[in-house]
Symmetry: C2
Subunit: 162 residues, 2 copies
């Protein structure tokens, strides 16, 4: 696999391409976040907080663990974020009675009500992208493939450390 490079010539070019792709993804992600920041300011929540609310609006309630799996975020990110959502009155956090290790995150009435106002968000974002729905879906699919491949590669890497 890692014999010395099959083609050594374009290694310089790869560094340039790398500069372009990693910059592009990073910049796109930040531009996207920035667009949401503007739109979400009315709702008083941030972009990552919005992601959490989207899951809760769909699921109603679920433990921190499940939330982390859905969003690929760990407790180091979620714990303080959920505290802020709780301080804002949008969710409650309660230790599960059945398993005291687990913390259930539940929407409050206020949190549920916020969904109505959030319905206007996607349209504003979509229009800001100048993409149509099919293009967005296609981009989403590509990104999911990319993420899955990167995750798998990360697992392989981890497996090598034995």
């Amino acid at each position: 696999m890692t014999t010395s490079a099959p083609q050594d010539a374009p290694q310089e070019d790869y560094l340039l391409l790398d500069q372009q792709i990693c910059f592009s993804l990073h910049a796109a992600s930040r531009a996207f976040t920035s667009a949401y920041r503007v739109v979400l300011k009315d709702l008083g929540i941030t972009y990552p907080q919005y992601l959490v609310m989207l899951v809760l609006w769909e699921q109603g309630e679920l433990p921190v663990k499940k939330l982390g799996e859905r969003l690929r975020l760990d407790s180091g990110t979620l714990s303080p974020l959920l505290k802020r959502l709780e301080a804002a009155g949008l969710v409650r956090r309660e230790r599960s009675a059945r398993d005291e290790r687990s913390v259930e995150v539940r929407l409050t009435g206020e949190g549920t009500a916020l969904r109505e106002r959030a319905l206007a968000v996607p349209r504003r974002i979509v229009s800001a992208t100048s993409f149509d729905v099919d293009e967005i879906r296609d981009l989403r699919d590509r990104l999911n493939v990319l993420t899955a491949a990167l995750d798998e590669a990360a697992l392989d890497e981890a497996a090598l450390e034995d």
Copy 2:
């Protein structure tokens, strides 16, 4: 433009689509960053620091201002990051003699030398994505279009605040 919705029925669907696309982009960006984190650990730099080094390897030296324009980062991000690169011995920062407001960022010998080791990075990342070069280029182009559209929409928004 913003008359009441041309089609009200699928507003719920939009919220679902939004959940998917914003999650996908966010997750892809983090998966990408994570892949770089693994590869860059050998070089002792982080992903945003690598972005800075890529620009410096191409340009040799340039003021903080120009660096920020290239990377779309402001001084609040760059100042501490550049201090860390300086502490690591990879760059020097010097007030410009001609314009004392400006700070020139220059590669040190060590910083220049690091490029040799960085040449191995892109190939490892590309192989982790399981995409071929054309697919990567295409994705990069789409992301650039997306970013440009979002930036323009942000400008329009700002223009409305008069």
